[in-house]
């Protein structure tokens, strides 16, 4: 079967007078890790919640695992894993009890103890959920999302509030899931996360899709071109070039010495992304 795991065309969402999504289109292929990037309020969560079946779309079409998320039933739900942005359940249940309880809803769940091990909660298995730290609770959220052995996993800002070490361990877990063939749709505003995990990314701002493509091809070519900067008697200079070393060599030949404050910068995803967002905000 070659249908994409997720396909949206001209997706729109209005809340009364306010338009949250102005016609967004993209597709996520099977087995892919796809990152949805954008600033707060860009429409990331609205998009993902429409795909999860929590919100109704105002226009356009959406297909998730071949079904319309607005009407799909429990068979469809059994093939999804959902990690919501935040949850604040009272947490009277114990960690393993909670995970085993949810595992019982699925036709072919993963082994509960293996999942606890994978998210690093084995030692906390007998604790009440309310006794977990913020980061541990988030890992339990992820465990609850994957225990049903989903074909497609939605992760809505999964690592917000993680320390760097916890984030790296989490990334390792996501790579393991991907290697097992799980399709993953991830929203994040951490660009290093998108760069570390994503095969492809889409950038959303102001309810519109700004760009979509492989992580290293995001943004206009110009914005991804390396920059050479140096200072001379006239002040600071900046030149974009695909051959920055040649530019520097020319510079040395012309001035006959080491130029002051020379640097070559290859724009990171973050630089590219910020320049795109700034352009949108300048237009608005």
């Amino acid at each position: 079967m070659s249908t994409p795991a997720v396909e949206v065309v001209d997706l729109q969402k209005r809340y009364g007078e306010r338009t949250a999504l102005h016609g967004v289109s993209f597709a996520v292929e099977r087995g892919e890790v796809f990152a949805l990037l954008g600033p707060n309020g860009a429409g990331k969560s609205t998009t993902i919640e429409i795909l999860e079946g929590y919100r109704r779309r105002s226009g356009g079409t959406a297909s998730v695992l071949g079904a319309d998320p607005g009407t799909a039933g429990l068979d469809w739900r059994a093939r999804l894993g959902i990690v919501l942005q935040s949850a604040s359940e009272p947490g009277t249940a114990r960690v393993r009890e909670q995970l085993a309880h949810f595992a019982a809803f699925y036709p072919d769940p993963r082994d509960v103890d293996e999942v606890l091990e994978a998210v690093g909660l084995t030692a906390a298995a007998r604790l009440r959920v309310s006794a977990l730290s913020g980061g541990q609770r988030r890992r339990l959220d992820v465990a609850l999302g994957v225990v049903g052995r989903p074909e497609l996993l939605f992760l809505d800002e999964p690592t917000t509030g993680f320390d760097p070490e916890a984030r790296r361990r989490f990334w390792q877990l996501i790579r393991t899931l991907r290697d097992e063939g799980t399709t993953i749709l991830l929203t994040t505003h951490y660009l290093d996360e998108a760069a570390a995990l994503g095969d492809r990314a889409a950038v959303i701002a102001g309810g519109r899709l700004l760009d979509i493509g492989p992580i290293d091809a995001i943004g206009p070519a110009e914005a991804r071109t390396p920059v050479v900067r140096w200072t001379d008697a006239d002040g600071r200079h900046e030149l974009r070039s695909e051959t920055p070393a040649v530019v520097v060599a020319d510079l040395v030949a012309r001035t006959g010495g080491e130029p002051a404050g020379v640097e070559i910068v290859r724009p990171s995803l973050e630089d590219v992304y910020l320049s795109m967002i700034e352009a949108v905000e300048a237009d608005a």
Binding site: Y54, L74, R77, L80, L84, S88, F105, G181
Partner: protein
């Protein structure tokens, strides 16, 4: 998490079989009952409440002599015995409408329902879980109250099968009514935080006008008529018909227990509540 395989799995069909909904409903009952007894605040305010109020009433009025003596001075019962049916009725309504209504409203606002709604748990299983939990906790609450009343205050429990049978159908019908009304009222509070503030006062007023704490026929006639529109008055009356001596029927509004009317009113509220619950229940608050 093993074996790197990147292939299409054949989706396992779970269908919408009633057997699966029933089995998961049973799983939910076990899970929810465990959570119920871990929450100290509900344990105190819902579970122990009727027994605590009973203790206070029984102690406060222990010196005021017996009530309801026949003209020849015989057959009077203690104040404790007189209050018992009202508190049994209050227990059902607290476990059902109040505790369930607040519980579901909080689950809606703290994300519990959203998470369940994102899983393949059938809604029917969720409701079976809630109803089963109310039944289990209401029975446990009842056993505690009857034990305290019987052993602590010498209140005589029904001696014959007819009265126990009467008790059984009034109790079960009341539980069914309280569960569906509880689900229906859970969508009234806008937030989980406001749930207690919205639901508790309404039920408190209803308890006072429905003959739980006062003799119903001491209320002004218009208030009796108004209270008769609501189910709690009938639950309390049904419980009196099961626990009090037959002679006490003469003290009711119509001079009888009105058992047929009780059954009709409770069944009506159950059906109405079922329709309302079905129409209003959502895993998440729907946006525009």
């Amino acid at each position: 998490m093993s074996a790197a395989v990147r292939q299409e799995r054949t989706p396992v069909r779970i269908g919408s079989s009633p057997a699966r909904a029933l089995r998961l409903g049973g799983v939910r009952v076990g899970y929810e009952v465990r959570q119920y007894f871990r929450q100290r605040d509900t344990l105190f305010f819902t579970f122990l409440f009727p027994t605590l109020i009973f203790l206070i009433f029984a102690a406060a009025f222990s010196g005021s002599g017996d009530v309801g003596a026949a003209p020849d001075g015989s057959g009077a019962i203690s104040v404790a015995a007189y209050y018992l049916p009202g508190l049994v009725a209050a227990g059902v309504v607290l476990s059902g409408i109040q505790n369930l209504g607040i519980d579901i409203a909080q689950e809606r606002s703290d994300g519990t329902l959203k998470r369940l709604g994102g899983s393949p748990l059938p809604i029917a299983s969720y409701f079976i879980g809630k109803a089963g939990t109310v039944l289990v906790t209401a029975v446990a609450q009842l056993v505690l109250l009857l034990t305290v009343a019987g052993l602590g205050f010498g209140v005589a429990l029904p001696a014959d099968g007819e009265h126990w049978l009467r008790f059984a159908w009034v109790f079960l019908l009341s539980i069914a009514m309280a569960v569906v009304i509880g689900v229906a009222v859970s969508s009234l509070p806008r937030t989980g935080r406001s749930a207690s503030a919205v639901i508790v006062p309404v039920l408190l007023v209803l308890q006072f006008v429905s003959g739980v704490y006062f003799r119903f026929t001491d209320l002004p006639a218009w208030l009796q008529d108004a209270a008769s529109l609501f189910p709690l008055k009938w639950v309390a009356q049904g419980m009196r018909s099961a626990f009090l001596p037959e002679r006490f029927a003469a003290a009711e509004q119509t001079g009888t227990w009105d058992l047929a009317t009780t059954a009709l009113v409770l069944a009506g509220w159950t059906l109405g509540g079922l329709v309302l619950a079905r129409l209003t229940f959502r895993w998440v608050r729907r946006d525009a």
